[in-house]
Symmetry: C2
Subunit: 275 residues, 2 copies
């Protein structure tokens, strides 16, 4: 399918969902405006049983952190220096989609939800982890498919309301090495979601997906089918997660510290799990 | 006291604390390196009783958001545009201390802890709210003093381990108005912490302080006494919190989404409370 077709399809899908949910959106508008959630978050049951163990799912990043286009994702210039000014701070130049970061609907649609408009209740979410490390060892462009989601549901029950469904491909262990981003020939090569999986997740109450690689779609994707369907549907993604291998498939709660600059398409985030 | 004296005093204080805690720091080094917390967080009891209600403590910010020096704290330039490129993103220029943001030890010391080095366990914290709205109504430069902390402890018990102790001065209601930052004469005027309060908090297990105004010190501060003592002691601060008035003095847990750029002195953060 050509890109224009994909974009048109995505826009139509987004508009349909907007019509469908406009009543609920209006009912929640007053509380959202005040920064309050419209209700009780889906993470409550897991939080109630939390042991209090914390796992940081965020990579530290700097100008050497790998990016999709290969250019530095952040530059830091001293603006004030302690020895001269008595305090210090940096002027940062950040391309929004670098490090461990958020992809909002607006990143892949003309008028989707921006990062400051994400429903705050979806930023504290039950974390469902889909482990594809076995197939990713054999194929750097392995994907989460519908049957992986079905297997998770069969083992652990329905996807909870507001869940973040995250792919663990074992990629955290590669960070700092060239093969986190490329194959030996220098082509982008890393696991991601297949559209069969996100199409299935569209039928659940999941609010977001996450990957431990650079992109929601696999490195060898030609059409960015997941970006062009999942994001315009009004849901969001997290790219570049770390340390998922130290969490169980179910039971953790993830705090998604999405930045809040007005109209942003996403941005470097702090993501932390409580188990 | 001259600035140089304050800085020297702060450095000495920091070195003393570093010596004192070096054993514990070394013991925790391996787990911190892996992005894992060194233990169970202090927020566990409150999380276990959480109702699941969420309150966003973060202001949406843009180039018009008030800053300490009066210059825009963020600039957004389109880098990719949907109609032309099929997706979109911004190039951001951010001065670290803008919007709802973190102040790390490194902001006010030559070699303190940077934002990526903050102990992750302290980013999910019991939230203690000190209400000074009554005195802030009469004095725009009102301060939290030791007796306000003592009164909180008398009413609610000891400050919990890892707590974030936040000032509610009622300033959220002023956002978007000139008097969030200035008095009628155009001088900086807003509430903050007094050093008597943070000196007392140094004797507790609090890990951070927060304010609903532009600065940890009040607007009329001549010596930034809180910045120069609290931060170099190895603890951190949050400035520009929103919506504290909708939370109780005790019982909420705060998720502090501090950014994680290497060596940063702080930065815009996403801060969310669960009650």
């Amino acid at each position: 399918m050509c890109n224009a077709c994909i974009i048109e399809g995505a826009k139509h899908h987004m508009l349909s969902r907007r019509s469908l949910f406009s009543g609920a959106a209006m009912a929640g508008a007053a509380s959202v405006a005040a920064g309050l959630s419209a209700g009780i978050i889906g993470a409550k049951p897991a939080l109630a049983e939390a042991s209090g163990r914390v796992v940081d799912l965020t990579h530290t990043y700097d100008s050497t952190f790998p990016t999709f286009d290969g250019k530095p994702g952040i530059l830091m210039e001293p603006d004030k220096i302690f020895d001269k000014d008595g305090y210090q701070l940096y002027k940062l130049t950040i391309f929004e989609h670098t490090g461990t970061h958020i992809d909002t609907p607006l990143h892949f649609s003309a008028d989707g939800t921006s990062v400051d408009e994400l429903e705050v209740g979806n930023l504290i979410a039950p974390l469902c982890i889909i482990d594809i490390t076995a197939k990713a060892r054999d194929d750097a462009n392995a994907t989460v498919e519908a049957e992986d989601i079905e297997a998770w549901i069969a083992a652990h029950g329905e996807i909870p309301e507001g869940a973040c469904v995250a792919m663990n491909s074992g990629w955290t262990a590669k960070i700092g090495q060239p093969d986190w981003r490329n194959d030996a020939a220098g082509n982008l090569a890393f696991p991601g979601f297949g559209k069969s999986a996100t199409d299935l997740l569209q039928q659940t109450k999941a609010a977001s997906i996450g990957v431990d690689t650079m992109s929601l779609d696999p490195g060898n994707s030609a059409d960015f089918a997941v970006h062009y369907s999942w994001l315009p549907s009004g849901r969001f993604g997290i790219e570049g997660l770390a340390n998922l291998e130290s969490l169980p498939p179910k039971g953790a709660t993830v705090f998604i510290g999405a930045p809040k600059h007005r109209g942003g398409t996403g941005g470097p985030a702090r993501v932390i799990a409580v188990l």
